[in-house]
């Protein structure tokens, strides 16, 4: 980020216009057992234009999707109690969930590989930043 760049506007549109001019609201889910990380990551996503919701472990995500809630993108931590990121991702893919799932982890390459193989679209090192998430906004 360049010095002196303007701060993201708090009035930033939380909608995206696609080619047909149809305006779409984008929903993101942050999954992490650390409340500090949940707060920061959801704030980052809100600031670039998503509406962010949070969940504290893998089982809650699976339950959410099972109950019919959908998201445009999920950012999921690897290490969580009850159901971790790898198990949750496998479960979501097995359920037929096709939305973008991005792994977020502080672990090394070997662990990242295993995480990606579970069905992720991408894997980022913690912590997330505005620069890391902006490309996803453009892809959706």
């Amino acid at each position: 980020m360049m010095l002196g760049e303007a701060r993201p506007s708090s009035k930033r549109m939380k909608t995206v216009e696609n080619n047909e001019g149809i305006v779409k609201q984008l929903f993101a889910l942050i999954v992490d057992d650390d409340p500090i990380v949940r707060k920061i990551h959801s704030s980052i996503l809100n600031s670039v234009g998503f509406i962010a919701q949070v969940a504290s472990n893998g089982k809650k995500v699976v339950d959410l999707f099972r109950s019919g809630v959908t998201f445009d993108i999920v950012f999921i931590d690897m290490d969580m109690p009850i159901m971790n990121g790898i198990e949750a991702t496998k479960e979501l893919r097995a359920m037929g969930v096709t939305c973008k799932i991005v792994g977020v982890t502080s672990r090394d390459n070997e662990a990242k590989e295993a995480f990606l193989e579970a069905g992720l679209d991408f894997c980022h090192l913690k912590p997330l930043t505005v620069a890391k998430v902006t490309p996803f906004l453009e892809q959706l």
Binding site: D34, I36, S47, V130
Partner: protein, 151 residues
Amino acid sequence: MDTVTQLQRQLVDYTNSLFLEGFLNEQFNQLQQLQDESNPDFVVEVVSLFFQDSERLLNELAKILEQKNIDFKKVDAHVHQLKGSSSSIGAQRVQRVCIAFRNSCEEKNIEGCQKCLQHVKYEYTHVKNKLETLFKLEQQVLAAGGTIPMY
């Protein structure tokens, strides 16, 4: 120089010193950039959460390391959490000690772990004091009728 400008100058200099001395890194900038009119206390809220959580983790670690049979898995899990949260707010020095701490855990090195615990407590207390001073300086600028300079 009027009072507000003086206080702002003090704040900017103090903030810069925290980065130069390695207490904070760019991740803290990220937090500051997320603060705006719709989220005016974001940084203080996140940092307060960090203080609460860290103190809980440090107390837990002290208890576990006092046990006769140390559960290194538990120690590692707590340190992993502390490493994660310190890195997410940019508390660089704390994060670094956590990395060394995890190595001691892996080696099941009791003395190493105890030394690391002391070290991480020290770095945590240090950055806590620095951040509290930073917030006080911000309050002084606001109380004098000024605005927090954009970082």
